[in-house]
Symmetry: C2
Subunit: 360 residues, 2 copies
Amino acid sequence: MGANRYAVILAGGRGERFWPLSRAARPKQLLALVGNRPLLAQAVERLEGLVPPERVLVLTNADLVEATRKAAPELPPENIVGEPVGRDTAPAVALATALVKARDPNGIFAILTADHIMGDLPRFRETLAAGMDIAEGGDYLVTIGIKPTEPSTGYGYIEQGESFKIEREIEFRRVQRFVEKPDLATAESYLASGRYAWNSGMFIWSVAAIEAALLKHQPELGAKVNEWAEAAKQPTFLVELAKSFPAATKISIDYAVMEKADNILVAAGTFAWDDVGSWPALERHFPADAAGNVLIGDTAEVDSQTNIVYSQGRLTALVGVKDLIVVQSEDATLVCHRDQAQNIKALLAKLRAAGRAEVL
Amino acid sequence: MGANRYAVILAGGRGERFWPLSRAARPKQLLALVGNRPLLAQAVERLEGLVPPERVLVLTNADLVEATRKAAPELPPENIVGEPVGRDTAPAVALATALVKARDPNGIFAILTADHIMGDLPRFRETLAAGMDIAEGGDYLVTIGIKPTEPSTGYGYIEQGESFKIEREIEFRRVQRFVEKPDLATAESYLASGRYAWNSGMFIWSVAAIEAALLKHQPELGAKVNEWAEAAKQPTFLVELAKSFPAATKISIDYAVMEKADNILVAAGTFAWDDVGSWPALERHFPADAAGNVLIGDTAEVDSQTNIVYSQGRLTALVGVKDLIVVQSEDATLVCHRDQAQNIKALLAKLRAAGRAEVL
């Protein structure tokens, strides 16, 4: 547990795909979708023994700061920082770098996600620790690639090149290239080749390495790192941030830096990992009954097959139905065909157009 | 509005088929399924100008008396009488006869239902008035037969014989026979023949005529009429009823009397009538959208067809689903295939077995 090691959890995003459980004011990372605590709290817990709470920071949307503090009460309140507006991951990484730099210009830190589900936590921590050792030892941008367990078309992939080093039994390889979400045939060939890993969105680097990379590949944003680091030492920080952050270009860290830099290593993530992208993903985390139904909460069914039901507070009952996602939340119920989960966004657009802000 | 004319509305029954809106403590007749007031209140309203509230009585289950009084506040509270236990319609008719006899041994009364939906109310009232005229003029048991509009397999039928009389432009015919719910082919032949009417469960007769018929065809029950009529004049009536009513044989008035008596007339009911037996019946009373969805309450949908949604209080949203019944009540949600509505009873049996009285 090196004194200069930090973690910054990116906890923005609206989680529309878990409507009606997720809401604008209650996005996915604040829900206990799987497990007993909000996904964000689990992300903090996972760092136990590796990064102490006082060195764990969370970036979220400004309007979610209070709810985020409640969801992770073990963190000092000032460690939860709100972005004035969402600007994708590159500006978030620049801000994260600034926050760590303000505390320790020699800091090593991991960028982690708030809304993923993981298993094999000792292995996860070992991977992070090894990545931090590597990041401390040299000017590398380390990303964590997850060893694929199926030909998923829902993730981006990283093609891995030659082996670089084995550190704490974790293999680090050079990155050949980043690739977008593939079609099924391509995903199958990736899986068969053994050369590809899922792009997890988790990174490890030193303040110096990522600041240099930003300055090189995204100079305007790179210049913000030092500006925000200085501002972060002042009581007027949030006022300053509200002025300068919205001007940052909306771009992902993959596009802005990772696909361009040549000092990238990919750590072999062999722990269980799932980004739980939408309701059907719950099937991977809850047992099904003999008829293939995943029934969570207060539920009952007759003659029903292969449904996913998430019932909060009240009873949800099925009679003679098949292949549905049924979600009853505090103030709304969704009934969706399981192959149509991607259309929940269309429903929310319709509700938005109808001025139904109170259910969004 | 003859001074000796009464109406007794039979308002027992559990209405399981409208679960989760209907409950043991909130059966169908107490719900405003169609219209703005509970079906029972609409049944009382329908009598306006024909039978005044002080001569309208309601028989219900003892544990529903209070809720029934609230649902029809225009009736004097003492006019709502609770049966200690449910014993089907013959004992209910005997009790109704006793209650009217206690007030007026020369009374003429109609037995009406609490949970049906009707249209053409002037015609309905004219049919009742004509029936009461006939019942006042002679020793007849008058039943109302509804002119079928489709080959329904959900109703019993009455085969009509020769014409007896036209009264107030309503035709009264002799009854040939009562028949059980037919299969579709039989129902189609009934409809084509023009000789058959739906058995509505509504009757009109004098106290003397129905008491005599009960004494003749169901002597033990017939003897109760006078016993209960005398008891009804005493303050101890409900105590007496609690002792003697449960001993009555559980049998319908159709089996007990109507299928045996030879002084039965059937009035031609040409008003709109629907017993709204289960959720799919709502389709006959609410407009559908262009995709055939009947959406009642706070609802939203995307790419969904021919569903029936009844949403109470909260939002119910559909995405990419077809042929479902979705009902969101205060404390439970049902998702049922529209061809499986008859299996709601199986669901309730399962909940009962699981000790879930609070949702039944």
